[in-house]
């Protein structure tokens, strides 16, 4: 029988969607039974008490977790989120309930042997509850006690070849979309770039040297399936430089109804026969497509590579072959100054595995230098950009201003000039002036 009564939570066991309450309950029960005789290193009733404290929150309408203290593993400035219950006597099983962030593999592909190893470890030394995955991308191991942190880290690194992810004023665990692994649209190898930068920047990831958190996300194309543009201080979004590849026969097949548009994504309703004008040409934001005499033409110079036409006709259209990526910077959540999406900094950069992605690092590192130099404590890159101006960012990275940087030029005329840009400089002689202009 369950340790704590949870009448409110129990109501969340009904309904078709997988119930986290049912799952927690089965886990609580299994722990209590302990059929495999695990020598649990943290309280056996940890899950029971988590259910209990959650039920209490459902009654109170308030959380029962206190501020996390500073806990972690030796030498790392992140990877663990400390957490303590504010009713430890009622719920001793979760009095300490720290989270560990485990760096997820690229594309979130797994082999089951690895997962089982992780499950065993977490059953043994933690609550047996996880988040698959956290919002940043990590595997979240939810709830353990302070003494277990080093033990878990030791087992992870020694037995599983696996490191922790980021938290604190660090580079956070980078994340990628599935990309070339299973997507026909990826303009570069998201997994490799993500992995390589993660490895090369391990120091930045584990040892807080930044003013605040910093996130990388890697999307293979502008569909942004890992939401990089919204959620990464630095978003790497695949794009291409040459022309969209067209298979005219396939275009015809779409027009004639032989292939369902949008990879059949609209199959749940009868939208009528495919209408290339309405569904593709008219929705192209730049109106750069024509369909005449059974032939699709794209004025690629005017195309902004938004993906819409490709999304709708995946068998007929493909991104160009000259792939690369755009870098957008500064995305962040609303605290303190309002949310930001990434702003376009580098329209196109080659993704060059052979060079060790040097071209890309040449953008990343000057930005970090600038941010570490100029950023205030707890100031995200986006906020620094706002405070100092986009121009300051450009100077830091050594990039010239170009119209691609803006959706529109400034409409206020409050232009700053550098003294060296203005003939004669800023020093003017008031006495000479007063000769021309009497008081």
């Amino acid at each position: 029988m369950a340790k704590n009564k949870t009448p409110l939570l129990d109501q969340l066991e009904s309904g078709p969607w997988p119930s986290f309450v049912s799952d927690m309950k089965q886990q609580a029960e299994a722990r209590a039974k302990n059929e495999n005789n695990v020598e649990y290193q943290i309280p056996v009733d940890v899950v029971d008490d988590l259910l209990g404290v959650l039920e209490l929150s459902y009654v109170d309408g308030e959380t029962h977790w206190k501020h996390g203290g500073i806990v972690g593993v030796f030498g790392y400035g992140g990877g663990v989120i400390g957490r303590y219950c504010d009713q430890p006597e009622m719920f001793p099983g979760v009095a300490h309930f720290h989270t560990m962030r485990v760096a997820q593999p690229g594309g979130k592909f797994y082999k089951t042997d690895y997962l089982r190893q992780l499950c065993d470890l977490w059953d043994f030394r933690g609550s047996g509850l996880t988040n698959m995955h956290g919002s940043t991308g990590d595997i979240i191991l939810l709830g353990t006690t302070t003494p277990q942190l080093e033990e878990i880290f030791f087992e992870l690194t020694h037995k599983m070849d696996q490191d922790l992810g980021g938290s604190g004023s660090n580079l956070r665990t980078p994340a990628d979309c599935i990309g070339q692994a299973r997507c026909e649209w990826a303009c570069y190898d998201t997994q490799d770039l993500c992995y390589q930068l993660t490895i090369d920047y391990q120091d930045e990831l584990h040892r807080p040297a930044f003013p605040y958190k910093f996130k990388f996300k890697f999307d293979g194309c502008p569909n942004c399936c890992v939401a990089s543009i919204a959620r990464a201080d630095m978003a790497f979004v695949g794009t291409w430089k040459d022309d969209i590849r067209i298979d005219q026969d396939a275009v015809k097949a779409y027009v004639e109804g032989d292939v369902k548009p949008n990879g059949n994504a609209h199959a749940g309703r009868d939208w009528g026969p495919f209408d290339i004008a309405k569904e593709v040409l008219d929705l192209c934001p730049t109106e750069c497509m024509r369909y005449e005499n059974g032939k699709l033409e794209i004025n690629n110079r005017e195309c902004v590579r938004c993906m819409h036409c490709i999304n709708v006709m995946p068998r007929a259209l493909r991104p160009g072959v000259h792939g690369g990526l755009s870098i957008l910077v500064g995305a962040k959540a609303p605290i303190l100054d309002g949310a930001q999406m990434g702003s376009l900094l580098i329209p196109f950069v080659e993704v060059n595995k052979e060079s060790g992605y040097e071209e890309i690092k040449n953008v990343i590192e000057p930005i970090w230098d600038w941010w570490m130099e100029e950023g205030k404590n707890r100031e995200r890159l986006g906020e620094l950009m706002k405070r100092k101006g986009f121009q300051a960012l450009l100077e830091a990275v050594g990039v010239d201003a170009m119209p691609q940087h803006v959706s529109e030029p400034r409409h206020n005329p409050y232009i700053f000039w550098k003294e060296e840009e203005v003939p004669g400089g800023f020093e003017m002689d008031i006495n000479a002036f007063r000769k021309r202009h009497l008081r």
Partner: protein, 381 residues
């Protein structure tokens, strides 16, 4: 419960220490068909909701069965996933960026048994363990955050409202009748640990009361200048208080300037602001992330407050359901929710969705607020 050492020696932590090794390398975990065809995929098709095929230029195919679920997941459930993957998928499995699970097989005949297996598994109380769906022009899994399960600043729970909402939206997880993909998300406070700021529909936990001040402990537990500096509206000032005859350093909160962001509480535990009546959900709509057709968009506030009616948040799920149905009926094919609202005009959005427009929905945050007011005579009655 004896302490069992992993081999770690707290007295010499650096001995034998392994650090900075990062995650496991992606290609260790690729299923063979993926490893072989990486970068060679030609096109894909959704065979039915939740089932995708990708076709490679080598002629290979990979069939993906996507299942939804709570991302709060026990090791028991993960082991069950492993069992399925071992049985059907040669021991490989992946998660999507929205916390769905994907089982991949390399030939069509393996699909049906896999689906049957997945759909047959239920929790004792009746909910599905692995419902197939979440693709195409439907509603996929809700990305969300910790809520009352693990965080100290939430203004609502995460897993609970998500379960409640997904129960209501379940048919659309398993269908593709929407005009376009519809992404729902939840963040339990405005730190917004997720894409709430640019989702088609977003639930956002929000406080509505200024922080209490725990004068007695404040100076002991917090750095007063940091708490003061944390406030984006400069609502916090230093203050001396008398308690039991002693003069203590503390702070004063100017309630009328406070917008309940909780940033001060993040810096100082003596400024709690959660409250049963004050806390609840802000409903936001119309955001998007993709660049398809239109630029990414921020979500806009559609309902300023809905109460935390545990365990099923009916006011919130009703409002979401209503918006989803009106959108499904009114929008054009491919039109994301925000694109639809902009085309018909926000005045029509509120009318059609039968939502009240209150003063709370008018932006009054800093200079950019101006640009959201209406600087034209073009409006609909």
């Amino acid at each position: 419960m004896a302490f069992i050492s992993s081999g770690y020696d707290p007295k010499s932590p650096m001995e034998n220490r392994v650090t900075d090794i990062g995650p496991r390398k992606y290609d260790e975990f690729y299923p063979p068909v993926i490893a072989k065809n990486k970068g060679k995929w030609l096109y894909h098709e959704i065979l039915e909701p939740g089932v995708l095929v990708h076709v490679s230029e080598t002629g290979d195919e990979v069939y993906t069965v996507r299942v939804g679920g709570a991302r709060l997941m026990s090791v028991m459930l993960i082991r069950e996933i492993c069992d399925i993957a071992d049985k059907h998928c040669d021991g490989y499995v992946r998660w999507t960026t929205r916390n769905n699970i994907e089982f991949m097989v390399d030939s069509k005949d393996k699909v049906k048994p896999l689906i049957e297996d997945l759909e047959s598994r239920k929790f004792d109380a009746g909910s599905y363990k692995f419902p197939v769906g979440g693709t195409g022009a439907g509603i996929t899994n809700i990305v969300h955050t910790q809520g009352w399960i693990h965080c100290h600043t939430p203004a609502t729970d995460a897993s609970g409202p998500v379960k409640a909402a997904m129960d209501v939206l379940f048919d659309d997880f398993k269908d593709m009748r929407m005009p376009a993909q519809l992404r729902v998300s939840l963040a339990c406070c405005l730190n917004m640990c997720g894409a709430v700021h640019c989702s088609d529909i977003a639930m956002l936990g929000y406080h509505r009361k200024p922080p209490m001040v725990d004068h007695e402990y404040l100076d002991k537990m917090c750095e007063i200048p940091l708490a003061i500096a944390a406030c984006p509206t400069a609502a916090i000032k230093p203050k001396k208080v008398e308690i039991d005859g002693k003069t203590l350093n503390s702070v004063d909160v100017n309630n009328s300037r406070c917008m309940y962001c909780g940033n001060c509480y993040t810096m100082c535990p003596c400024l709690p602001l959660m409250d049963k009546e004050g806390d609840g959900v802000v409903l936001m709509v119309g955001g998007k992330v993709s660049n398809s057709r239109s630029a990414p968009k921020f979500s806009k506030v559609a309902v300023a407050f809905l109460p935390n009616t545990a365990p099923r948040w009916p006011e919130t799920t009703d409002a979401i359901k209503k918006i989803v149905e009106v959108y499904a009926a009114d929008a054009r094919k491919y039109e994301r929710l925000g694109e639809w609202a902009e085309r018909i005009g926000w005045e029509r959005f509120f009318e059609k969705c039968e939502l009240e427009f209150t003063h709370h929905l008018i932006d009054d945050f800093r200079d950019p607020a101006y640009y959201t007011w209406r600087q034209t005579t073009n409006f609909k009655f």
